[in-house]
């Protein structure tokens, strides 16, 4: 965020209330031009509400939304959705069933000349490998094809911002894995600024430059995928992104913490000495090592092809998860040795 770039979208202290319920509780967000952001969070965290507020479908109760310095919502201003120049891909794809692919895409080009619109449609179709599909009707397309048409329909009018409201949730896992990076690459290539709403972190990791984890109508943390996973700043983010367990610990000094797994160090700690904390341990932080002095017994196991995921009960009864090599097949109840391999020590009060 230190790079010198122009801020495209600016959301300040945004509030949305549904009756007494606060869907957005004073949310701040800045998005630079050309960036792809993913709003990640559990259902009900307000991520879709934020998207709909930016698009103009949701009235705001307080705060402001600005796009390229222009005030869209707030302070008594409420620009109509059709005048915001924001494209949107909807959760249920929502291609118009009565129009063919070409007319669907050209739908938002009603202010363009016919010739320009035609050229734009053909260009967009070629961009998503759908050249020659213009005369088909939506029902004649596969799920992935419909998805791509919905995408280019939304970007056709060259809006300033593209919003994607869980558009991949209706697709099966394999197709999603293929389609999401493709679309991310395409948007990058076209220099489109976009916001994706998702509750699936794999999708978020595959799509976005920046991930904003939301909870209770606020953004808990916004940063890169790597940082979100390895350096979560809150207990919620740590727990929501990836797998992991909290085990009890006590701060020894500004470098070390003691817990059932021994004394661990790794990075600066910002808690007072002697203070009780929870140490966050991810399964990939724990390695299976028979020579280790730390023992635990296996409570359950799951075979995942490339590796085993064991749940291990430690001496004091606390449990952690551990990835083990695909060939290390142990029985439930068996004692195995484990050792820590932690690069980022995470402690929460």
């Amino acid at each position: 965020m230190t790079k010198q770039q122009t801020t495209l979208l600016e959301v300040k202290d945004l509030q949305v209330n549904y009756g007494p319920r606060q869907a957005l509780a004073g949310l701040d967000l800045n998005l630079e031009e050309g960036q792809l952001l993913c709003l990640l969070g559990p259902s009900g965290c307000g991520k879709s509400t934020l998207l709909r507020a930016i698009a103009g479908f949701q009235n705001v109760s307080g705060g402001q939304i600005r796009l390229a310095q222009q005030l869209l919502s707030g302070d008594g201003v409420n620009i109509a959705p059709e005048q915001r120049q924001i494209g949107m891909v909807f959760q249920d794809i929502a291609l118009f069933p009565h129009l063919n692919v070409r007319d669907n895409i050209a739908f938002g080009l009603h202010k363009w000349s016919t010739k320009e619109a035609q050229q734009r449609v053909e260009y967009l179709l070629s961009m998503v490998d759908l050249t020659g599909f213009g005369d088909r009707y939506p029902y004649e397309l596969s799920g992935g094809q419909q998805q791509r048409v919905a995408l280019i329909r939304a970007i056709a009018p060259k809006g300033k911002l593209l919003l994607l409201d869980e558009p991949f949730s209706g697709l099966d896992a394999a197709l999603r894995e293929e389609l999401v990076p493709q679309i991310a690459t395409l948007l990058k290539r076209e220099g489109i600024t976009g916001i994706l709403v998702s509750h699936d972190q794999k999708e978020a990791f595959a799509f976005a430059d920046q991930i904003a984890v939301m909870n209770h109508g606020k953004i808990e943390q916004i940063t890169s995928a790597y940082e979100i996973y390895h350096k979560p700043t809150s207990r919620f983010v740590a727990d929501f992104v990836g797998e992991g367990d909290f085990i009890a610990g006590q701060i020894l000094d500004n470098q070390q913490v003691s817990c059932v797994l021994g004394n661990i160090s790794g990075g600066e700690l910002h808690h007072e000495t002697g203070c009780k904390v929870d140490v966050f341990v991810r399964p990939d932080d724990i390695l299976h090592d028979d020579s280790s002095s730390i023992k635990g017994h296996i409570v359950s196991k799951r075979f995942r092809g490339t590796h085993f995921l064991y749940r291990i009960a430690l001496a004091n009864g606390e449990q952690v998860a551990c990835f083990a090599d695909s060939h290390h097949d142990h029985d439930i109840g068996e004692d195995i040795g484990i050792k820590l391999n932690m690069e980022h020590l995470l402690t929460f009060r």
């Binding site: 479908f57 959705p81 009565h98 739908f107």
Partner: protein, 550 residues
Amino acid sequence: MRHLLSSSISYLPSLKWVALAGAVMVLLPIVAVLQQATFVGTDLWLHIWQTVLPDYVSNSLLLMLGVGAGVLLVGVPAAWLTATCQFPGRRWLDWALLLPLAMPAYIIAYTYTGILDYAGPVQSALRDVTGWGYGDYWFWQVRSLTGAMLMMVLVLYPYVYLTARAAFLEQSTVGMDVARSLGYGRWQAWFKVVIPMARPAIIAGLTLALMETLADYGTVQYFGVTTFTTGIFRTFYGLGDTAGAAQLAAVLLLFVVTLIMVERWSRRRQAYHVKAQSSGGFTTIKLVGWRGWLASFVCLIPVVLGFVIPALQLLWWTVFEAHVQWASFWQLAWNTFYLSAMAAILAVCLALLLAYAKRFYPQQSVRYAVNLAGMGYALPGTIIAIGVMLPLAWLDHRLNDAFVWLGWASPGLILSGSLVVLLLAYCVRFLAVALGGIQSGLGQVSPSLDESAKGMGRNAWDVLRLIHVPLMRSSVLTALLVVFVDVLKELPATLMLRPFDFNTLAVKAYELAADEQLVEAAPASLMIVVVGLIPVLILNKAINRRRQRI
């Protein structure tokens, strides 16, 4: 793929033939009418062709045009408002808009005539206030072509309302949202997306309303508007010309077939339409302030005009003004009840056989036969009446000939002169209604239920007894009830085919109204309306259940 049950009850191969018989039954009146219509050349027919036919055609077309425009204008906005907006009173207007379904067109016509004619309360009040006398002022004549249009719009718009509302609920507001995110304003989006997406459903409702318009006899006859149905009636009874009537019926049939084709055409791609997977957040548009009240007003007007006012007027006449002779009234009610009940049981039994035939023998021929058997709803009662009367009368004559030849006493018109002909006509007309209910009920009983029961060692009869009977009970009861009420309201076929001196509530109301005894017609009319409310309430319950699932 043959169904699992079929192997066990294949000793009922006749089921397949029942399906074909059902199709033949519905085709019979059409064939009879067309066959009779080919006896051309009677002077009378020439006379009709040259004098009254242009009138019939133009009046029928004008009526369809007026009613069509009217039901769209009333039904579509009401459907969209209640499906996607929030405004004062939406929750109960939602179902109240269905109430006029309980009001047959001829009854609302009698009632408004009573309210609006010279001696009625409106004109009397006008004269009292202004001091005008007879001939001093102009007042809209309800007994006219425009009056007939208006009456039919008031009771037929629910067909459009129902189908359009279902479509609007299904497309939710997402179509509108997409259009707006692509730069269209609210109104533009409404005409570019919302309406075109619902078009197949709207046309389906419109076609139903227009079929009812073509089939109507009571209203146009009472209002003196000469259409095909009144023409057929007059030619058949007044002039005693069967061939002429059949020819008119054949022309009317042409109108009906055109309507069916238009409806089919409009739905040609509907099966493939992408159904919006409802995405949790079904957003509604909040209409506040004057917009909200305007929406309430728009939805309230059809309910008040189409149900509240005529129902209250009927109630008033019945309670305060009519001289009800209870003995004859109950005789009338009983006649109506047992006739309707018999027809309902017959139609539903036949529908059950047809539906099961289609399930067990999913062959093309059976499917066609069952679908054909469901086409009777499109035939106006007058066509069916002539169409069943002709073959049964022919059969009666052959029977009599045979009896005489055998030296026995002639049995008289035991088929065409009895309730048999009436019941057959009802079956043809209302089989579709029964079939629709039964088939959707049977659709809920997934074949895998049968298979899992069989897998647990149950035989075919156990499956029918323990699974189908309990699961099908409510749809069978609903079908019985809906046919019952439809028969109760039916007028033209009953009028043409009833045995001598046999009256029903509908016929009595018609006769009294024809004698200008509108007040005396009220008790019978009110009874029809009240009973007619039952299926409306059931329909409303079914819609609410479906809505909760969305």
